[in-house]
Amino acid sequence: MLSITSHQCITRWAVKTKSILLITTLLDLFSASQVAFSGVYANMRMVHILTSVVGTKCELNVKNGVIYEGVFKTYGPECDLVLDAAHRKSPEPSMGPRREDIVESIIFKSSDVVVVHFKDVDLNYAKKDNFTDSAVSARLNGEHKEKDLEPWDGGDQHASGSLESLDTDLSNGWDPDDMFKYNEETYGVKSTYDSSLSSYTVPLERDNSEEFLKREARAAQLAEEIEASAAYKARVALENDERSEEEKYTAVVRETHTLSREHKYIPPSQRNREPGLSWGTGRQNSPRLVQCNPGPPAPRAGPHDYNIPGVDQRIVNGGAHPWPSRCPSPSSRPPSRYQSGPTTSLPPRAATPTRPPFRPPSRPLRPPSHPSTHGSPAPLSTVPKHLSLEGPPRMSPKSQRTPRTHRVASCRGGGASGADFMSQGASVEVSTPVPARSSPSGGTWSSVVSGGELSHRPRSPRQNSMGGTASGPSLSSPQAGSVTADSVNMSTTVTSPTTASPAPIVAAIPLVEAKESRIQETRQNSPSSNKENMKPMESSPSINRPVSKGLPSIAPDHRKQIDNLKKFSVDFRLQPSSNPDPVFETTVTKPPRDSGEKPKEQPKDKNTDLTGPKVCSESPSSDEPVTAVAAAPAGSKPNTPSPSPSASALSAQPEQKRGPDVTSQGVQTSLPAAKSDKDDKEEKKDPVPESIKKSTLNPNAKEFNPRAFCTPPKPATTPTLPRPQGQPSPSIVVQQPPAMYGQTMCFPQMYPLTPVSPGVQVIPHMTVSQSKPYRPVPNMPQQRPDQHHPPGTSTMMHPATAAGPPIVAPSPAYSTQYFTCSPQQFASQPLVQQMPHYQSQAQHVFSPVLQGSARMITPPTHGQPSLVSSSTTQYGEQTHTMYAAYVESTTPSFFSAPIPQQYPHPSATLHPHPQHPQPSATPTGQAQQGAQHGGSHAAPSPVQHPQHQVAAAAAAAAAQALHLGNPPQQQMYTALAPTPPSMTPGPNPQSPQASFPSAQQAVYIHAPQVQHGYNPNHMAHVQQAHMQSGMVPAHHGTPSHPPVMLMATQPTAGPQPPLPQGTLNPIPVSSTTHFSYMTHPQGKASMFSPDAVSCTELNTLKPYSRQTLFDNTITFTKNCSFALVLFVLFQYHLISSSCRGVLASYN
């Protein structure tokens, strides 16, 4: 056994070698996972211990008593042992092995081994953890007693307080002088430091010379300007923000609210701001959302806010991209809106104003504002009062609030999108708050008490923006939140009214009114909101300043213009572009639009304002006719109760448009009329509205969606009708709606709506188109179209953002709206509206394209954001970049937001109705308003989930419609479609509202777009097509992708189908021509619609750009961004196209 031949040893050695390798691997494996090893290898401990003794000398006793000594080399699975340099131990202890005695290596079978003795082994030798405490201590040599602790004696000087002094020593290290002194004393180093820095600069020699004084004054001025700039404040705020990162971005701030009427979860901050009112809750919700993002910003802005609300918000935004962009955009937008809005909007809401006064405080006291808003809505939609009173509060608060908040939050979370949402939300909220605020701010706008609401709305955006920028941090977030909340509330309130009006018409009216009121409110709110932002009441001053610039300084329009020019020359540009979208989508957009539109519209509006009373009277008188118009919605609604939703939506849209216009126009007087109209409408609608309200109230989103879907179809039909028929749209419209339905998915609803909407729409459209020129009835229609466009945009946006359902719903609304719009647009307004639209829409890169696209996007949020961004320089840059990302995120929010906003808008629109007709010029304004509304809606939408969905759907529909509409034809369609959606929404309490608003907005958008499309189309169909294509995809993509897609597809399909129809239907000559172009170029309905939209957008952009130098620059940038966005969206288009294909098949 022991006599092993060398040969055998070698053989075994080889085996052993292998085993070593195995062992090493095994050990590694053991630690990680237990692998099934055979024999000893399966025994981890044995493996470990044997491995740890490798390389040590050992004596191996074999069973026959012989002892071998060698270096343990390795072992095998059967515990065979290998000794290197082994030798048979001689009995002579002292004698070492001889060279010849040593064997290279010997393998011992375990069966032969009795004992293996490893002497003096360091078991920790191979441990890898040589630096652990145990490892180190294990290797310590010598004794290691624990040392006795000795008390430290720092000496007398340090005996007491020295350590404390270290903690309490506030000095940040050595004083330079101390250092110099120490070095000089210790090292003899003399410093050459000269505090005057004479080596680097020259001391200023003061004298009393005139030149010096001038320069000094100039320097002071420049310093003041710089320090007053939002950017400066924002940066300073960032630098001086003492809040911790946690506070800024993470902390969940729960402010104790005085009131929590809504029961709904209201962010503490919001609650405080808006005590008690359901609206307040809604607002609060939005605030919450805002807060989420803004939360940190708000604090930041807080300080800054006081200085410059807008700046602060921006700053805040800076903190959170969303906010900054949002804030700026809102601010910019709001201003424009405010400017234009205040005058026009205020009047309309004058009736509502009663409540609006409350709003001013609302922000700080959002609850109040909400109440006020609620109240305002109710007042606004006096008719709806019943409904509004009941329905609005319930529905609006819940649906709006919750959805808005959610969306807002989501939006905010989205960042850019969030910003958009925020802005939108803010705008919306602002608008709502405005009413309450309006009373305070109303002072400035006081003339526009009623307008106050409108002004508030615009302001709210402004405030938002302002607040965002100015009110900044605390306010911004709060404002944004509050504003959004307010706006939301407003929107919600409005919506609620609308919803309450539920009767589609009523709702629509309410919506319109709400929109108006919102606008006014926003305007007012803006001040108030600003105040609130700054301080509930106090904020107004600071805010007022910015806002006041626009508002106080002069008419809303002036204000807006001023604001835009001054504050947001850049932003303003952006705003204009953005405004369209925002307007459609959110009130925020309004400012831009207002600015853009207002200038144009303002005259009109002013005229209207002048006429405002007239309008009011007219509107009242016209109620019957207009009912057709403004009334159209209402009338249509009454006409077709079931369809009423669509009709109401249409009417609502028109009304909303009107409302905005009116508000913008400062149709204070008109407000009453509008109110009366609204009331009438509401009354008419009441029956239906109630049901609708109910439905909307509870199921808001869901119901709306269906309806929205239905509406989308209508839009589609309308689009076709509008383009071809132009005025004849009714019949055509009807046809289109079906197409829309098919496309949209919501055929059932769509159809019902479409039928009604057609008639209504036709009237509206007709009236609208005519109305523009002719303020009376025609104006109403025109306004409606404008409104429709905005709504459409918003709706479009919503759809895009919203999921399939929303999309569907939106599409109907859009279709209806679009239809109405398209006719109107096609008619006289097209050019005018287009111009305004272009400006406003064009302002936003997206907006232009978006006008369609933005609208499409629902952009309300997007649009607003984008708009905002565009409006604000920052946005332009940021937003654009942001857009793609935002679009998606925002779109959803937009959807949601748009819807809520839309709701509010509807109410606003209701108010406007009377005025709207007057504002024919305002159509753009309306469109803007609509956009604003859309924006506001968007903002609200976040809060109101249900509504959001609906709104989203509506928005999506609107967006689609927009997309569709974007191509001039499509826009028209979309516009038409939007109205139907509104109609559809009507049934659902919230959803109706949302749909209405959205629809209206969409319609507005469409109208603008359509109008734009007309001009633009001619101008550059190709471009538009491109834009649209890009835009459309983006829209689709941005919104809920799937939904959006669907929506987009539907809208597109709707539009496209409509386009063909439109082509067939020569109703709107201009439109038809455009449509024909559009359709032809587009060739393919689905594809075209997007393209067309893009084209329209492009066209719109061009016109806008042309109109406004700023816009041009902005638009260019926007275009670039749009292009990007479009690319992004393109994918969506693909999807949407597929959807469209499906829709087409349906059709």
Binding site: T24, G55, S94, V116, H117, K119, D120, A126, K128, D129
Partner: protein, 194 residues
């Protein structure tokens, strides 16, 4: 031959004593046991008495009797640390080379004392070699049999003094070691006799 102890299994950490078939008494702490191969690994008190070292005994229970578990450990065995195989393989190679080197010297007819001294010096100064029966350290110092301190020769200097100290210490340790061995031897004898 096999004399299964009280149990078929030995838990880690238990203290076990046994008597091999060769009449060798083993006692130690169980650090590993493989039931399949009947191999038991014990950690015993180090033969050198150094605290950080220990003797490891691998016993084939097939050739052991009188297995007695002195104390049974029920606790959870300590975790196994990962091992540095490079270190182990290097040690194995070094040990082998040392042994071969030593064998070479032995084959040269060097006395065990000389061999031990060589090993001791080698531990401290690697640069040493056999030159016939003389140990050459650093090419400066030559130690000639019988390898006493006085046998260290070379240029006076630090090297010579250092080597002398080593040799002196070696011899001193050797004496003490011998005494220990004697004591151990006596113990063994007594144990065996007992």
């Amino acid at each position: 031959m096999a004399t299964p102890g009280p149990g078929e299994y030995f838990s880690i950490g238990s203290h076990v004593s046994c008597l091999t078939c060769l009449g060798q008494r083993l006692q130690g702490e169980v650090i590993a046991f493989d039931y399949q191969t009947k191999m038991l690994t014990l950690k015993c008190t180090p033969s050198s008495g150094k605290p950080n070292l220990s003797d490891v005994v691998l016993v084939n229970l097939a050739y052991v009797s009188d297995v007695d578990v002195i104390t049974d450990c029920t606790g959870t065995p300590p975790p196994l640390a990962s091992l540095n195989f490079n270190k182990l393989t290097n040690r194995a190679r070094a040990e082998k080379e040392d042994k071969l080197s030593q064998a070479y010297a032995i084959s040269a007819g060097v006395s065990p004392e000389g061999q031990q001294l060589f090993q001791t010096i080698h531990k401290t100064i690697k640069e040493c070699k056999w030159q016939e029966k003389n140990i050459v350290v650093m090419d400066d110092v030559v130690i000639t049999p019988p390898y006493r301190v006085d046998n260290c020769r070379g240029k006076e200097g630090s090297a010579l003094g250092h080597v002398r100290k080593i040799v002196e210490k070696h011899l001193r340790d050797l004496e003490s070691q011998k005494s220990v061995q004697r004591a151990q031897q006596t113990q063994k004898d007594s144990a065996l006799s007992a």
